[in-house]
């Protein structure tokens, strides 16, 4: 179906990534946001708070991140598309509720505008160091989805995709911005509502009494109902059966946890989104994401100008990781180069997928600013030897 025109600010704008992310959420149909503002993500909720009364919906500034990350889940079960917005220190506090969203299969979007960490770190400066936190941050086994925009335009476009994925797979989806993408201003084109595809929640057609909240078909994604529609259901963070009631046995755990990870793993090829540039026949492939992909792009061009055969693979979706594609490339390239604004996180995934077939040269950066294109160029030259 198409986006509701009320939430779509059609036109050409010169706005920053935070503002564009907010517009993306509104266009996607998000009508409930709870948050505890934190730099460098504050502008997302600031804009949402100003815009939502005109669109119809609700923003609540809550007392902390725990309240925010659980309020959105209540609103999701009341039928809304929901989001919370934070940065690293807030995301750490939200981890308990990330697990609840994963286990109760509550569609929701967590926006993380990444800043330097750990702890309070660098409030106003960039990093990409929460990549493993969103993969593994809450206890237990689950498979999240994470997207990594590299421009204000993508903060708009990919936010719609983030909501669509949350609804399609009923998982917490992480929108992994960083301070530069969040605060950088660029042209953002917002199309007509009729050109924006949004995914409606998978509502059940079953009657109360027939409906079982965690019964699934081959899609592995159960149908949903919302509060007020006359269904009496039970939702719990305990291991549960198809009726949603606690079932604390090894077989119930086996069945549920396997389905939760398989609904993403079995669809990974469909979900994965990489953008490749000159990868075929390349000696060296640079793997990057987010703001670093823009700097890496400049370095790749400089390397090509120097006569090197270099490809660039950008992770638009970081989780699930495109392991299959990296495995294929590992058979043909001399080496991978992985620049990232952390001490080596996604590089571990590239190494895992390459499985020793091609070396992985890491280019870690503790954050606070972005890489110098020259540093990436030097690493490409080293890899090409």
């Amino acid at each position: 179906m198409h986006a509701d025109p009320k939430g779509v600010l059609t036109g050409i704008h010169f706005i920053d990534g935070d503002h564009a992310a907010c517009e993306g959420a509104l266009a996607a149909g998000c009508r409930f946001v709870a948050g505890y503002p934190i730099t460098p993500s504050t502008e997302v909720v600031e804009r949402f708070a100003a815009r939502i009364p005109l669109v119809g919906g609700m923003f609540i500034q809550l007392e902390d991140e725990l309240a925010s990350s659980i309020a959105i889940q209540g609103a999701a079960w009341a039928g809304k598309k929901v989001m919370t917005v934070t940065s690293g220190p807030g995301l750490s506090l939200m981890m308990e509720h990330v697990g609840l969203a994963a286990f109760t299969e509550t569609p929701c979007v967590f926006v993380d505008v990444q800043r330097g960490g750990p702890s309070t770190g660098l409030p106003t400066l960039p990093a990409q160091a929460d990549m493993m936190q969103v993969k593994w941050g809450s206890h237990g086994d689950y498979e999240p989805i994470a997207l990594s925009p590299n421009s204000p335009q993508e903060c708009f476009d990919l936010m719609i995709k983030a909501f669509n994925l949350a609804e399609t797979y009923r998982v917490p989806v992480f929108f992994m911005m960083d301070e530069v993408v969040g605060h950088m201003t660029e042209r953002v084109v917002i199309p007509e509502a009729s050109e924006i595809e949004v995914v409606e929640r998978k509502w059940t057609k079953k009657k109360p009494g027939e409906y079982r909240p965690y019964e699934t078909d081959e899609s592995l994604v159960p149908e949903m109902v919302k509060a007020g529609d006359g269904y009496r259901i039970h939702i719990t963070g305990l291991t549960h059966d198809e009726r949603g009631y606690p079932a604390m046995t090894a077989p119930a755990q086996d069945k549920l946890v396997k389905r939760l990870v398989n609904k993403i793993r079995a669809n990974a090829d469909k979900i994965v989104d990489v953008r490749e540039d000159g990868v075929a026949g390349a000696d060296v492939v640079v793997v990057s994401f987010g703001i670093t992909s823009r700097v890496a792009g400049a370095a790749v061009e400089a390397a090509r100008a120097a006569g090197l055969k270099v490809g660039h693979l950008r992770l638009v979706i970081t989780w699930p990781f495109p392991a299959k594609r990296i495995r294929e490339l590992a058979a043909t390239v001399k080496a991978f180069v992985v620049p990232e604004l952390n001490m080596g996180q996604m590089a571990l995934e590239v190494e895992r997928a390459a499985a020793g077939k091609a070396p992985v040269l890491t280019l870690p950066h503790a954050g606070g600013t972005v890489h110098e294109p020259g540093a990436i160029l030097a690493k490409i030259k080293e890899a090409a030897q």
């Binding site: 920053d16 106003t124 201003t185 660029e186 700097v295 792009g297 400049a298």
Partner: protein, 185 residues
């Protein structure tokens, strides 16, 4: 690819970020170019140092930071002292001439153009519009963007009800810029 790196520096409250915003908007929305704007983001407040980094290019921009600006626009002595030594060889300085004295901090060969923007703004009725005078001056001296595109960007960026004053400020800066640039070439 043609690329111009611009830094705008001054004090919080002078409209430094808005000046950068208007240049970026003019380029990317009204002039068919690409532009990025990065603002120095820290505990800035009214009266403290403030700066914006704008890149304008014919093609998509990868690295958005400005290290050695081709064009430096400064509205305060502190911003001049901090950023003047970084201007790229063959670059250009645009400065508030009642507040800033150009000295040997400016690399040799950098062309300097001054405008009494605060005084002009006061003569127009509000000191606040000095940033728009500077923006007009930038458009007039550099010719990097068309008059119409910057004018439209000014019009769509200032608060409703102040368009007329701001457009007069823009025009004043632009005309002065044309004169200064003609005089030096």
């Amino acid at each position: 690819m043609h690329k111009s790196e611009i830094r705008v520096g001054g004090l919080g409250g002078q409209g430094v970020i808005l000046c950068g915003m208007i240049i970026g908007k003019a380029a990317s929305i009204f002039d068919g170019k690409h532009a990025t704007l990065i603002q120095a983001f820290g505990p800035e407040a009214r009266g403290s140092a403030c700066s914006a980094q704008v890149t304008v290019a014919d093609e998509a921009i990868g690295y958005p930071y400005v290290k050695n600006p081709d064009i430096l626009i400064v509205m305060s002595p502190d911003a001049y002292t901090q950023f003047a030594p970084q201007v790229a060889p063959g670059g250009m300085l645009l400065y508030e001439s009642d507040l800033i004295k150009v000295d040997d901090k400016l690399p040799k060969g950098v062309r300097a153009f001054g405008v009494p923007a605060t005084r002009f703004a006061e003569e127009l009725g509000r000191r606040l519009v000095l940033n728009i005078v500077m923006t007009g001056f930038f458009a007039g001296v550099t010719g990097l963007l068309s008059y119409e595109s910057v004018e439209q960007a000014v019009k769509s960026s200032v608060p409703k009800g102040t368009e007329d004053l701001n457009l007069r400020a823009f025009h004043k800066g632009y005309e002065y810029g044309r004169e200064q640039s003609a005089g030096k070439n």
